[in-house]
């Protein structure tokens, strides 16, 4: 309430100040066109959002004169409540693919203004009417490199289920997403034939290793399991494996059948700064900004041109590097949206079964 009362005043004041400084060149005036605007950007916090601030928001602020306030952490329930109210506190939000599809379906998002955002820069699988992919990541098969040295390294999802050749505790997600895909690929289904998923077949496959598997609920936990060598093989996000490896863990990942997902930038319905929000998204899709972020935190760009300036040491860890993107596929979020409740219930029932 206070915010909306103060903001026009602030804006008017700054506008007046700008008008007074009539000596400024026309070029500066045009470039700093958003002076006085305050945008709220919400993301997932931590090192990721810090990198987003430095690589996206700061250049945007310098170029347009707008101020970007960092908020978060993003939370699907909070986002939904906000968008349903029609007067969101957030203007640009970094959301998961699930939130994008459910938000688009339920009319909670503003359409991406393609006259501002040049969508041709972005790999087509990451462009959506209501959101633009900003980073791509993937669920990968990971393993302890000391337990499984170079000569006998697991390479495919089938190896996750092979207790004889790859013994030891394993880890999977405590949710059906990605687990079911991995199990079906291990059972011989080609990525192209996965959807609609044969859920019961996948669960029967996971049954074969259920007693030996720890199911992780948070990303930190998945990382900890490998760092502490509680598990020798399992499913983990590529970024988490990279981070664990940088911190000295004996961890390697395989890229065969990597299950890709995407973080999308969206504008919640009713944003008071829609035009400025689109401009921020435009800045976020530029190759140089995405390359900087990848070099800083090893999240894969959605703008392929970014690879020209990405550190060759980091490139092999990124889901969208030409080599890795070829061996994976983007998860079918629309299928998951339609089946989410049924699968959540089925997963809970499966967990309780002996």
């Amino acid at each position: 309430m206070t915010g909306s009362l103060i903001r026009p005043t602030r804006r008017a004041l700054l506008g007046a100040a700008a008008a007074l400084g009539a000596g400024a060149t026309a070029r500066t005036a045009r470039a700093q066109s958003l002076r006085g605007t305050t945008l709220v950007f919400a993301s997932w916090g931590g090192a990721y959002q810090e990198a987003q601030k430095v690589c996206y928001c700061d250049p945007f602020a310098a170029e347009t004169g707008a101020r970007v306030v960092q908020d978060g952490p993003m939370n699907a329930a909070r986002f939904r409540t906000m968008a349903e109210s029609g007067a969101p506190d957030w203007d640009v939000v970094d959301v998961t693919i699930n939130t994008l599809f459910s938000g688009a379906h339920d009319g909670l998002l503003e359409k991406i203004d393609t006259t501002v955002v040049d969508t041709s820069r972005i790999a087509p699988q990451f462009v959506h009417e209501y959101g633009i992919g900003c980073i791509a990541w993937s669920y990968n098969l990971a393993y302890n490199t000391r337990t499984f040295p170079a000569a006998r390294r697991p390479t495919t999802w089938a190896d996750l289920f092979d207790m004889r050749q790859f013994p030891g505790k394993r880890t999977m997600l405590d949710q059906p997403v990605a687990n079911l895909e991995a199990a079906l690929m291990a059972d011989g289904v080609a990525p192209a034939d996965l959807y609609p998923l044969d859920v019961e077949r996948a669960l029967r496959k996971i049954d074969t290793i259920k007693a030996q598997t720890i199911f992780w609920t948070t990303n930190s936990q998945s990382q900890q399991l490998f760092v502490d060598e509680e598990v020798s093989i399992g499913i983990i996000l590529n970024g988490r494996a990279y981070d664990a490896s940088k911190k000295g863990a004996e961890i390697g990942i395989a890229w065969e059948g990597n299950i890709q997902s995407v973080d999308y930038l969206v504008v919640p319905r009713g944003s008071r700064n829609r035009a400025a929000a689109m401009k921020l998204i435009e800045v976020m899709t530029r190759a140089e900004n995405q390359a900087r972020l990848a070099n800083m935190i090893a999240y894969a760009p959605t703008n392929p041109a970014a690879f020209a300036s990405i550190d060759p040491a980091i490139s092999p860890w990124l889901s969208t590097s030409p080599e890795n993107t070829r061996r994976g596929f983007v998860i079918n979020a629309e299928w998951w949206r339609q089946n989410e409740r049924r699968l959540m219930e089925r997963w809970a029932a499966w967990k309780l079964a002996r």
Partner: protein, 281 residues
């Protein structure tokens, strides 16, 4: 807000002092919880469809029963561990009491999430505890202490102990210290004196503690998620999934409603069996 005409100033004063707390509870607790529960009947449309869904899919009942069983297992364990501590606090020297109070309160200074992660690190297969036990030859192979019921109980009990210790302590403080020696002098064995004299007198604190532990445990979410295995799924996790993943406030509300009803029902039963007066005293 005018003072009530009947009681005048003298009667209204204490009530006015309660007003700030009442307002906070109303705004921060009663309203949001009430709205969530109301959504069970109104979201996405008015009717009982959310409850029918819970009834038709056996998994919800299954998880509910599971939750009650886990809470029922945690309660006696906590009570047994808390009893001697409360006793030492109630009847020990002031120094002992201060030290124990301090030790019991320490866990409150750390967030539940941090403590749960710490418990994981301590109890895991290659954690310090298992390593120590293997190295000194007590066990041959690491014990499975987490990702199962043991893990959930260990995690839950350590967080719930203060909720039993303090009510027990306050009950025990009120027990006349001459009663036990009197019973012994009259010829009762120590066990008999404890069972017939001390235990019944400490019952109010014990029941309050048991109630708090049981109710808190029913709503647990972080501990089963981090320290439990697949079979320790609890209702709190399902409610979280409904809101966080499915955006389904209606079903979340219905689940909360059922959990609340079950809690109230079980407490009613408990107090019928043991006697409500014991707790209220």
């Amino acid at each position: 807000m005018e003072a009530g005409p009947v009681n005048g100033r003298r009667g209204a004063g204490p009530w006015l002092l309660l007003l700030p707390a009442a307002l906070v509870m109303l705004i921060a607790f009663a309203l949001p919880v009430g709205m969530l529960l109301a959504r069970a009947f109104t979201h996405p449309e008015p009717g009982l469809q959310n409850f029918i869904l819970l009834w038709e899919r056996p998994v919800y009942l299954h998880v509910l029963v599971n939750t009650v069983m886990i809470a029922a297992a945690a309660t006696p364990v906590t009570l047994i561990l808390a009893y001697p501590v409360a006793h030492a606090m109630a009847h020990g020297s002031p120094r002992t009491r201060r030290l124990l109070t301090f030790l019991v309160l320490i866990p409150f200074w750390t967030s539940l999430l941090v403590r749960s992660f710490a418990t994981v690190i301590l109890l895991q297969r290659r954690g310090p505890l298992n390593t120590l036990l293997v190295n000194i030859g007590v066990i041959d192979a690491p014990l499975p202490l987490i990702y199962n019921l043991t893990g959930v109980l260990l995690g839950a009990v350590q967080t719930l102990l203060p909720f039993v210790i303090f009510p027990l302590y306050s009950s025990m403080r009120r027990i006349d210290p001459t009663l036990m020696p009197a019973a012994l002098t009259m010829g009762a064995s120590p066990v008999r004196a404890f069972l017939r004299v001390y235990l019944p007198l400490s019952l109010p604190g014990l029941m309050t503690g048991a109630t708090l532990v049981f109710i808190s445990m029913l709503g647990y979410f972080v501990i089963p998620a981090l320290l439990g295995g697949p079979r320790q799924t609890m209702v709190g996790q399902l409610i979280q999934d409904q809101v966080g993943q499915l955006g389904s406030w209606g079903v979340a509300g219905a689940l909360s409603f059922v959990l609340l009803a079950v809690t109230a029902g079980l407490l009613g039963l408990l107090h019928r069996l043991v006697g409500l007066k014991a707790v209220a005293r």
